[in-house]
Amino acid sequence: EALDFVPMPGFSTDEEKTPFEDVTRYNNFYEFGTGKGDPAKYADEMTVDPWSVVVEGECDRPGAYALEDLLKPHEYQERVYRLRCVEAWSMVIPWIGIPLVDILKRLEPTSRAKYVYFETLYDPDQMRGQRSLFSTIDWPYQEGLRMDEAMNELSFLAVGLYGKTMPNQNGAPIRLVVPWKYGFKSIKSIVKIRFQEERPKTTWEMLAPQEYGFYANVNPEVDHPRWSQKRERRLPSGLLSPNYMETVKFNGYGEQVADLYKGMDLSKFY
């Protein structure tokens, strides 16, 4: 379904976009399997309409919101962001959505809200990856941001891409996009938003804390323990001419976000 939106050139890269086919057929969405093609194959088993999002914790407007009510007052924007996966590949994707800050402000977080926690749908009937006996993930998928990160102008709640409603495999009906962090921070198919005082534990951090930190900022200077983060393969990448490029700190968004981490040792807070 086509969406109405305002293009935001100031928030968009003019790098070549990853084609729609690749963006929608090459996904990490372990709820539907660990293969890159699994989400495209099986995400149709998830029902995304109706959808509601529970808001709770340190805010003045908690409650269960029908997705439409959460989105209604806002105008959609298009932002072309780089997406850098922790696995060392990257894409350029035109997202349609709403700045996260606009929605969070409406929910009126209290002064005690230091972090925002997000949760993906948990429904093994619809998500075959959650039925896997061998998965070491403790579902549901959980993520979080520090309040100032969430309020940063780049943080985005996407409801579509390439001008159309979000395909299920990309995290329909609503997902987070945090372009200066590794892709796993950009949680998909959100059903819960909670404001809280303590830092939330995140799924990958719980699974392998020495490999995946809470911050997960894109950073070529801090390698993943099992592979280098210095370079990335920008997709699509060819066999004869692999599309390698140097990875840039904060995925190239340092100007907007470097201040958030002033004085922090990013090799310790990875």
């Binding site: 057929r25 090459y26 093609g37 061998f134 099992r226 280098s228 990448s237 066999l239 692999p242 390698y244």
Partner: protein, 207 residues
Amino acid sequence: MNEKRVLNQPGFVLAFRLLVALLASVPLLVLIASIASQSLGPDPGQEVTESLGIAAFQLLIATLCMTPLKRWTGWGAWIRVRRMLGLFAFFYAVLHVLAFLQFILGWSDLWATFTKRPYILAGAVSFLMLVPLALTSTKGMMRRMGRQWKGLHKLVYPIAIAAWVHFIWQSRSDVGEMVVYGLIIAVLLALRWKWSGSRALIPFVRG
């Protein structure tokens, strides 16, 4: 003509060997077809490297299955395809290593890769142990080395374990597939353990 005599006819054994060679070529043929039809998705280098690695691993396990199959069925042809399967495993492993260097690493960062990435070290160790086995796989070498040949080729067990470690170390969350492979390897090793001291492997050593 009874069943056994048919099975052991040279023509039948030859046909069996051709069939095994064809089956062992399937991963390569599929890969070539996928490259030609550009159906490997947006990250073909990763796909190619992974599928070559898996093919090498599967053929290594197939190689390890031949002795038990011979023992259970009494059919000698299983042993006649064992070397071929092992060499196919080596062939895929060579392609896998080349694909990794070309498509994933781009021939950069070599030293850091092998010293800092334990899963790559496990793969490298597995591969390097495979090299002497491939080099000494000829009948002539088998004769010349005698008992030593058998000792050397027992390396195939640590090779399989190192390859398994190489895979399971890379998994990000779903270890199901590798648990299954691990069980298969464990059973194959347990059988050897049980048979050690018996004459299980001796017909092959006579070469």
